[in-house]
Amino acid sequence: MLTLTLREQPTVPLETDGVTPDRLAPCSRDEVEALTVWHGNRRAKVGDFFAVSGQAGEELRVEGDLRRVKFLGAGMTAGRLTIAGDAGMHTGAGMSGGELVVAGAVGDFAAVGMRGGRLVVEGSAGHHLGAAHQGERAGMRGGEILVHGDAGEQVGAGLRRGLIAVAGRAGAAAGLRMLAGTIVALGGLGARPGAAMRRGTIVAMSEVTLLPTFAFNCTYRPQFLRLYLRRLRALGLPLTDQQIEGRYARWSGDGLELRRGEILILESERSLA
């Protein structure tokens, strides 16, 4: 396993686009140290900021105070990248394979434009998690994102395909303009979930204030959801039997778009009474 240890926090954000396990796997330690990173608007080398140890392979570990390090794991296609702490913006952006595990929190725009693989955030995530790159219509197009903490606003904005699960609360406008795919929020949803969504599924485990452009269908047990929630539990999220086996109210929307999207809300014990 190759380990990169950040010596000290950079004064301005450091962009590490391309520092991924699959890119580094065939490199010698000297070659890794010579790879280009951007410190603000100045070209620099990996070795200028990171101590490199171990042998490159399928696993890469990055250590240190990485809150100002952007694009960690961006574009990775295979292998496993472990970030031992918090990570900056654009972590896992555009990744298409492999597994990226962040032991802490991630900044905004994590996994934007993701196409495959899995991002696991053991802390919280910022805004625009799994959303679209600025100016693009479609966001995440495949893969899985698991956040053990909370997530900021516009989770899965423009989501096209894939699964985003947030164990905590997802901020306002989750699933904004989403095209398909699935968002699961175990700890509640902020305002205006699914605004302008065309298709896809947003799952909430507690009461949600919906836009008036969503219409109620019925309360039932969605068979497909059992598959999703069981998988999320297998991946370590705290799903209860009641959530997996429970009944969900199905709301269709957004009525200003196709009304082919849905928001599923777990039937609460209060509504059962």
């Binding site: 039932y220 068979q223 497909f224 059992r226 069981r230 997996i244």
Partner: protein, 300 residues
Amino acid sequence: MRLAGAEIVDTFAEAFPMWGARILMTAETPGWAHEAARSLTGFATSVIGCKCEAGIERELDPAETPDGRPGVSALLFAPDRDGLAKRLVERVGQSVLTCPTTACFNGLEAEKTVNVGGQLRFFGDGYQASKVLDGRRYWRVPVMEGEFLVQERFAVAEGVGGGNIIMLGVDSASALRAAEAAAAAMRSVRGVILPFPGGIARSGSKVGSRYSGLMASTNDALCPTLRAQVPNTEVPPGVGSVFEIVIDGLTVEAVSDAMAQGLDAAARSGASHVTAGNYGGNLGPYHIALKDLLPGAGEG
């Protein structure tokens, strides 16, 4: 050769390649999962008249199913891959989609797949929706009860059809008792089905007929009532009834294992003779000799 009082005829079962699929059906209760499975595997005793052969493989514990509900697995076999795909669409569509509370999943790992849920989705008339989870696509088809969930693609693999053992007895009761014991023993083997009613056929057939247009006709050589009439009878003196168990399986090993279990159980349950059906070795590439299935065969 003798085993537990039964004469084991020195012959072989002749089996042939068939394409097979494993279908997992889940439901809110084991009862509804069984209803779906019984319907899916109904009227599927022989490719001669049913275009496919199917049977229930076993009941599944909720921990074994994709959605954590009670389930049943069934195997379905057809002579070719295209035919198997058609039968799957027909039978999942008519028997599982229609059955209350069920969902339907592929239960086989194989390189080749056929489109099942992707065809059945059209029943949703435009309101169907798909979900992709862990690389597998599922279709959600809205139905009056709620929603039917079906996996898009089902794996199909080349399996083995036509494994068989034939049990002879002094009368119908004793021969049937032996056949029932054999069928019960065979059901413990995974990867095989016994497509006939209760696993047992009383009307084994031979290829062809004196009547043009009939692919198969009664196996007169093993009809006790014709023992004095047909020149090539294989019914020994004192035998009054004969039953056959046909075994289809995903592998020849599973078919052989089931035949061995059945042979042993039949011999110990009152069969006077146990034999097997073949076509002189000209029809199928799998020749499973009964002597190789006897306890201790292959040892030393």
